[in-house]
């Protein structure tokens, strides 16, 4: 049988479309002919081998590859006497692999009869009949009348997408430890200077049979957030389309299989933690468009969960982010111990107080030294009842000729509670780094409060260790910045490489350091709407307040880092003010903020 592009006038439109010309030798032999795709036939492409004439093709080299559920149209061309009615029965070699119908949308059965009416020219073409790929396997179908069989048969391999997987490209994939499992990807940079695009992951779809050039269709789905089905984390319940990153996933992509029957596409994920995906693949695009997201599953129109015989899916893939934390602490305490000499001692009889004038200048703090004893050599330790920057007042008259004597004035600060009966103002003692026990490099929410937000702290940025000691912060907001030594500041606004600075500090500004004041700041950040750089944790403040289950160095550290992620006190949970906190977990409001941020 030859194919030509020319028309054959006899035999009607079908012959014209087929462009077939019967050779004299084959004129008496009925032939099964394949309808072109343009006739409304839906198939998956495949090896369009010429129909075999005698020997049936085998599964390794089928004549056609049908996707499971795909339908191909055929017809029978017969020859005989004008007016003759020939009835061919279509059968197959392996029951159940194919099914047949006289109508495309009709009932498909194991066999059908196809009628050919011979026209005046001695040939005739049947109405189209349809073959459906019913189940996986290989079968040869043929058509025979009581007196003769079509000279050709078609070996059809029915295949589907048997397996799908994600494969790492530039970002390793590991197990997602949060709800619904699946795989996890960290699409962010591995270092500030990293130029590799790590957002991409390879998706492979493998056919049930290793056949090349089969068209496979892929579609990405924004799956439901499994961590919640209520706002603010997930306001639309189980239906998906709740990824926070801006992305268009509506298209269907087609790719042909390679020699191994594998088709590949690349998925580019967003950068928002918690965004998740499944990719479905099938041989027919309409099937993909009928899939629905139900929680973290894909279901077809009949309600069956993928994978089905008609389509397959990857596991769930979830985006996680790292936050790189540069940690420093202030150097040794200084300035809490003041020495000098008493230059003048004046007894004020009316007040029954003695005022000492000092050779040293006291800090500009109205309450720090109230009640703190001034130790005067040869005189003793006397509690201070009032002071200015240059004078100290004690109660009563003071004997022992204090003028000219050396004095020592020590703030009662003791951040590590090691002074006992000998206060030394922490002189020379080194505030350590903040307690990281709630922001560890871990997937366990008990040791990483950011894990429910799909964020993992990482400590790979070298700090200074010890930075310049500051007795009291000069102020708040950007006034904190000069006290930082933030080596990674160049990347602090990089949305693909999250960095923050964390410093173990001594105490806040004078008005809030608890030395006589009622209000104490346990920690602070310089800003909190995605434009902050760092967080301070004040060790001396924590000592002033005293710690408990919800007020601690660790809780304060996590709370302040939460501020850098736009956490707000009104979020409650761990973001509550220390005095009213009853939880060490971030609330859903805070988790939503963390996952919506472009960078801390």
């Amino acid at each position: 049988m030859k194919r030509r592009g020319s028309l054959h006038l006899a035999g009607g439109l079908l012959i014209a479309i087929l462009g077939l010309v019967a050779s004299p030798a084959a004129a008496a032999q009925p032939t099964i002919v394949r309808l072109p795709a343009g006739e409304g036939v839906q198939d998956c492409g495949g090896a369009a081998a010429s129909a075999s004439t005698v020997a049936a093709a085998d599964a390794a080299s089928p004549d056609y590859i049908f996707c499971r559920g795909a339908v191909g149209g055929f017809a029978i061309q017969g020859f005989g006497s004008p007016g003759e009615v020939q009835t061919f029965t279509v059968t197959q070699t392996v029951a159940g692999v194919l099914s047949f119908s006289n109508y495309r949308d009709g009932l498909y059965t194991e066999t059908i009869d196809v009628t050919v009416i011979i026209l005046a020219d001695g040939s005739g073409v049947s109405d189209p009949f349809y073959v459906k790929g019913e189940s996986l396997g290989f079968s040869v179908f043929s058509a025979c009348s009581p007196s003769r069989c079509a000279i050709n048969q078609f070996g059809i391999l029915v295949a589907n997408v048997a397996a799908m997987e994600f494969q790492a490209i530039n970002s390793p994939l590991d197990t997602n430890p949060n709800a619904a499992g699946g795989l996890r990807i960290f699409p962010d940079k591995t270092s500030a200077g990293d130029t590799v695009d790590r957002r991409q992951v390879l998706v492979t779809a493998t056919l049930s049979s290793p056949q090349p050039n089969v068209t496979v269709y892929f579609k990405a789905f924004d799956m439901d957030d499994p961590s919640s089905d209520v706002g603010p984390v997930d306001s639309n319940g189980v239906v998906g389309r709740d990824n926070r990153g801006l992305q268009n996933l509506d298209g269907v992509v087609s790719v042909q299989t390679d020699a191994n029957g594998v088709a590949r596409v690349i998925l580019t994920v967003t950068m928002q933690p918690g965004d998740n995906y499944r990719i479905a693949a099938a041989c027919m695009p309409d099937y993909l468009n009928s899939l629905l997201v139900m929680g973290t599953d894909l279901v077809n129109a009949a309600g069956s969960t993928l994978p089905t015989d008609d389509a397959n899916t990857t596991p769930l893939l979830t985006v996680w982010r790292r936050v790189h934390i540069e940690v420093d602490s202030m150097g040794a305490v200084a300035g809490n111990r003041i020495t000098g000499t008493i230059t003048r001692a004046q007894y004020k009889k009316r007040d029954n107080q003695t005022v000492f004038t000092l050779s040293a200048t006291l800090p500009d703090d109205a309450t720090r030294f109230l009640g703190v004893p001034i130790a005067i050599a040869g005189v003793g330790s006397l509690p201070i009842v009032a002071y200015t920057r240059q004078t100290v007042t004690v109660a009563g008259a003071v004997g022992g000729s204090p003028t000219g004597k050396a004095f020592t004035l020590v703030d009662d600060d003791d951040f590590n509670l090691d002074d006992g009966a000998n206060p030394d103002g922490d002189q020379g003692e080194d505030p350590p780094a903040p307690d990281l026990s709630l922001i560890q490099n871990s997937d366990d929410p008990a040791s990483n409060v950011f894990a429910p937000a799909y964020v993992r702290p990482v400590y790979d940025l070298p700090g200074e260790g010890a930075v310049s000691f500051v007795l009291n912060e000069p102020g708040y907001g950007s006034m904190l910045l000069p006290t930082y030594n933030f080596n990674a500041i160049g990347s602090e606004a990089d949305s693909n490489f999250w960095t923050i600075y964390l410093i173990g500090a001594y105490q806040p500004a004078i008005a809030e350091d608890g030395d006589g004041e009622n209000n104490v700041f346990l920690g602070i950040v310089d800003s909190r709407l995605g434009d902050g750089q760092g967080a301070n944790v004040f060790f001396e403040s924590l000592k002033e307040v005293g710690t408990g289950p919800f007020i601690s160095n660790a809780a304060t550290t996590a709370h302040e880092v939460g501020h850098l992620f736009t956490g707000d006190h009104t979020d409650l949970g761990l973001m509550s003010q220390s005095g009213s906190r009853i939880s060490l977990s971030f609330s859903d409001v805070t988790l939503d903020r963390i996952r919506s941020l472009v960078h801390p």
Binding site: A334, P474, G477, S478, N519, F521, L522
Partner: protein, 268 residues
């Protein structure tokens, strides 16, 4: 037990029960710190021009017959007070000034309001601190835009605005909102317009004015340049309505620089 004794016992039980119920009710009522309080907001004036800082007086009153204890004196700095602004034709959205919501106070911070007693606080509105949303899918960006002002200024265009202050109640649904106050913001002219143009071109100048420090390291060249810009505006337009606030901002900045100079630790 005789009848009268029984009646007395029953009566005693009933009294005890009602007292317990009252105690439970009282406990439940006071478990929300701000329950029973009222909050008012009053702008210093009713009329402003664009680029002018609006100052608010806020009063928290205990109109009830019993004392109410708050964990700390509410302020915009510690997040105990929030300010909402409704632009002309729009609903209320959260306004956030520089440094708001950062102060985590602890210690002996509890404040008791006796019956009839009031607390006062202040807030200013000029620069609006808002977060980026361009990277977000539409539902999330829209939600943030619905709930928060997304402009660089609290008042970004002329019109009549409503301002509301919310006292954080400490529990979901327990917040207490003030009756809104109204202000009129008009288009600036003359010197006021020149100031507004400068702020519109660099909103961080507004941050500087309001916070008294720049956004970023105060010792940076950028901060120095901003200070010089503000000083230049002040000198060029001393008659502008924004002049007093600009002058105050510069003065606070200079004071901040002095503090930063003294950062090195004290030596013995």
């Amino acid at each position: 037990m005789n009848m009268s004794k029984m009646k007395r016992s029953i009566l005693a039980l009933m009294v005890l029960s009602s007292l317990s119920a009252a105690a439970v009710a009282a406990a439940a009522e006071s478990s929300v710190p701000a329950a029973g309080l009222s909050v008012e907001v009053r702008p210093v004036r009713q009329d402003y021009v664009l680029g002018e800082m609006v100052k608010l007086f806020i009063r928290i009153t205990n109109p009830s017959g019993r004392a109410v204890t708050l964990p700390a004196a509410p302020s915009v700095a510690n997040g105990g007070l929030r300010v909402l602004v409704a632009a002309p034709g729009e609903g209320f959205k959260r306004y956030e000034g520089p440094g708001w919501g950062l102060q985590d106070v602890a210690g002996r911070t509890a404040v008791e309001l006796a019956p009839g007693q009031s607390l006062e606080a202040q807030a200013t509105i000029l620069y609006n601190h808002h977060q980026e949303t361009g990277h977000l899918a539409e539902p999330y960006a829209a939600r943030i835009a619905r709930e928060n002002l997304t402009t660089d200024f609290g008042f970004a265009k002329p019109g009549t605005y409503r301002i509301q202050v919310v006292l954080a109640g400490g529990e979901p649904g327990a917040d207490i909102a003030s009756v809104p106050a109204e202000i009129r913001v008009t288009a600036p002219a003359g010197a006021d317009l020149e100031i507004w143009k400068a702020l519109a071109q660099d909103p961080e100048l507004a941050y500087f004015i309001q916070a008294g420090i720049p956004k970023g390291d105060p010792r940076s060249s950028k901060a120095t340049q901003q200070a010089q810009t503000l000083l230049g505006l002040l000198q060029a337009h001393p008659e502008s309505r924004q002049a007093v606030d600009i002058q105050s901002g510069i003065a606070r900045y200079n004071s901040a620089l002095q503090k930063l100079k003294a950062l090195s630790p004290r030596s013995e």
